[in-house]
């Protein structure tokens, strides 16, 4: 049945994802070849250190340190080495030699995506990256193709498994951030240096990729507002739960109108947020990922699954390999990146959202009115106020939790600054955005 010549697949990198891709290609190659209508031949795996330990066995004769020669002999180059260099140079070499490229490298795409897509378009090659966001969860194709006839208004994504694991543990067990991080590291859900995850860098890269795709507009990484979870406290998580919320690190991509200028544009941001317990995102536990989106015609959609891990991510990579191979067999280029909309990218100050703010205040008559006044002077409308009695009953201060209506980040920032210098307020203990209401 198969009449097409074998397609030569080069793999760059044999880490946790790369080793599994190699293993699955070798194990299921025949089945995948039938789906394509051409043989899929793994011609080599480029690594830095041939002797390094791997999570799956790779035949010795496939291993090479000469990535460039491997690339030049390949029809499809699969880049799973990560990092900006030499990954970028290798992918440019691959595209310029006419090979299709499959990558899971979110850092590279968020940083140099536009240049790589430009090269691909010029030479008529394809760049596939389903595995760059959400691990095994199909999200790139749904956004690029299935929703191509719709207008996406908003994406709320849990796109980093490490931080979701940590926040979920804090919620379930009352652990502090440090305790939950240590547990995540022990179980392999967090790296020894967890900065990229817990400071939100990884999620910000994914937000840039999702926003660019959803809004047909190049959203550079540096335009993504980023806050991590290192300052989220056990008290905040417990108080959120008591009020019917869970704390999640969200990537939020929105199409919105700047309230100050009336300019329509897009915004991308990553920060911890309160999500109502009844929202589908609140039920995303452990290291799982989910992308919730709202589109004009489609309404609300959610995509859920394993967001990381060598084997699940290998599934997404192999889906791309099969897609690239099918394209080879049937001829013709695929779909170029679409950034025609080119909407302005709005700063975080123009974003409107709701907030919950916890304060320590003097437990005296008139204080509540003074604080309510202060909010209204800064243009922030208060929706709910909860006052908590001190357990010992003898403290001169009380805890006030204020939920606001939608307000701009700038109005909120000036409100918080004013609260900080108010004589009635001894401390602003928590400021968290609320999403998904």
């Amino acid at each position: 049945m198969i009449e097409y010549r074998n397609l030569r697949i080069a793999l760059l990198g044999a880490g946790s994802v790369g080793a599994q891709v190699a293993a699955l290609l070798l194990e299921h190659g025949e089945e995948l070849s039938e789906r394509v209508g051409a043989g899929l031949e793994l011609v080599g795996v480029a690594v830095r250190d041939p002797e390094a330990p791997r999570t799956a066995e790779i035949p010795k004769d496939l291993i090479t340190t000469d990535a460039e020669s491997l690339i030049l002999g390949a029809d499809i180059v699969v880049e799973l080495m990560g990092g900006l260099d030499p990954a970028r140079r290798y992918l440019e070499l691959a595209l310029n030699s006419g090979a299709d490229v499959v990558t899971a490298n979110k850092a590279l795409l968020a940083t140099h995506g536009p240049e790589l897509f430009e090269i691909a378009e010029q030479v008529g090659a394809q760049l596939y990256y389903e595995a760059a966001v959400g691990g095994a969860i199909p999200i790139i194709r749904p956004l690029r193709d299935s929703l191509a006839g719709d207008r996406v208004h908003r994406i709320l994504g849990i796109v980093n498994g490490t931080t979701n694991y940590i926040l979920d543990r804090m919620d379930a067990s009352g652990a502090t951030f440090e305790e939950a991080l240590a547990e995540a590291q022990r179980l392999g859900f967090a790296e020894a240096d967890p900065t990229a995850d817990v400071e939100g860098y990884d999620a910000a890269q994914k937000a840039a990729i999702l926003a660019s795709l959803a809004f047909h507009t190049t959203v550079p990484l540096e335009a993504v507002h980023r806050e991590g979870i290192v300052s989220v406290t056990a008290e905040q998580v417990a108080a959120a739960r008591a009020s019917g919320f869970v704390v999640k690190l969200l990537a939020v991509c929105e199409r919105l109108v700047d309230p100050a200028t009336g300019v329509e544009g897009v915004s991308a941001r990553v920060h911890p947020a309160l999500v109502p317990v009844g929202h589908p995102l609140a039920a995303v536990h452990g290291a799982n990922n989910a992308v919730f989106l709202e589109a004009e015609a489609a309404g609300s959609l959610m995509f859920y699954g394993a967001g990381a891990g060598g084997v699940p991510t290998a599934s997404a990579v192999l889906g791309d390999v099969v897609s690239a191979a099918r394209r080879h067999v049937i001829g013709g280029p695929g779909v170029a990146e679409s950034t025609h909309a080119d909407l302005p990218i709005l700063p975080i100050s123009s974003v409107r959202t709701r907030y919950r703010i916890a304060l320590e205040v003097d437990d005296k008559p008139g204080v509540l009115a003074a604080i309510a006044n202060l909010f209204s002077e800064h243009g922030v409308s208060v929706e709910t106020v909860q006052q908590e009695a001190r357990p010992d009953g003898a403290s001169p201060t009380a805890t006030l939790v204020i939920g606001t209506h939608e307000a701009t980040e700038s109005a909120l920032a000036s409100t918080v600054a004013a609260l900080g210098s108010s004589p009635s307020v001894s401390a602003v203990t928590s400021v968290l955005r609320v999403e998904g209401l």
Copy 2:
């Protein structure tokens, strides 16, 4: 920027989906044209009755009753009339004239899909059908492309919004099937003649489409085992909830090994099933749809959203229109259907699942042992037994709820038959499968 000629789009049918597709195409045509790189021109809408009321206004000069002339002048034919004839004839005409086809017609695909895909492949045209399953939810592309490098083991789908609405109402309010159906009809979630939904015909069509795609094997509609929800009682739903389950109408597609013969094959079935309350499918409320799937490498994935309705379904149709149009602009055919695996289709008797069976039995010593014996004689292993005291305390019978380990349908059927003729059993009041444990 746009240099390609306009692409001519013909719409067949202007019902709830068709009228919205026309409205969105006319409203957002320019934006969609920019995404494609070519103008998208709606050249006509074929209807049976030009004077029929529509959910959205369509310009009079676009309306025609001459579907065939419209088809012959089109680049892309969008079929939203439903039914087998004349839809099949029109699509064959469209494909044979070289047009790409977009359809949401699940009945036609489940019945004559293989013939239509065959014609499309022969003439190099494309057949898109994202809207045929799950309304706005992207599920066809994820299965066809994103998971093309993986092996799907199992799909559990809530793919009919009407029945999910009815069962959800029964669960939330204690309503009977008849009451919940009447409410669904009043609110427009069920048709005046609800047979296609409540008897599972609609879900069975979708199961055939999903199973064919997931297993690379043509699964004909008549091979799908089908049970509807008309006999689901308020008592069953309440008892399920009390035991930690909700009742859902599931489309179950499995790759499995026939325990009798050792033959590996696939199975597709639609029936009411108990789903544990903690399972993501249990949280799918109202008329929403969701597809939960398990693949070898990807693990568990879920896709969730609006499963029906004119506007959400129009989103999926327009995504296909844009995909088809992009394909025109860049040239080259798309991806043909893949049925190379051609696995055997196993009968329902070879499916293994768990059951919960409710019985009225004599409240006498020795009865429980006799019934346990009867299960074991038929090769069904009992996992849990609950005995409920009668509220009045005076009845000579007791209610026994037996949860089984996995058993084959045939072993279960013979057990139920034996229970029915056992002198200790006065009635078998409920037999339901359990999925998602």
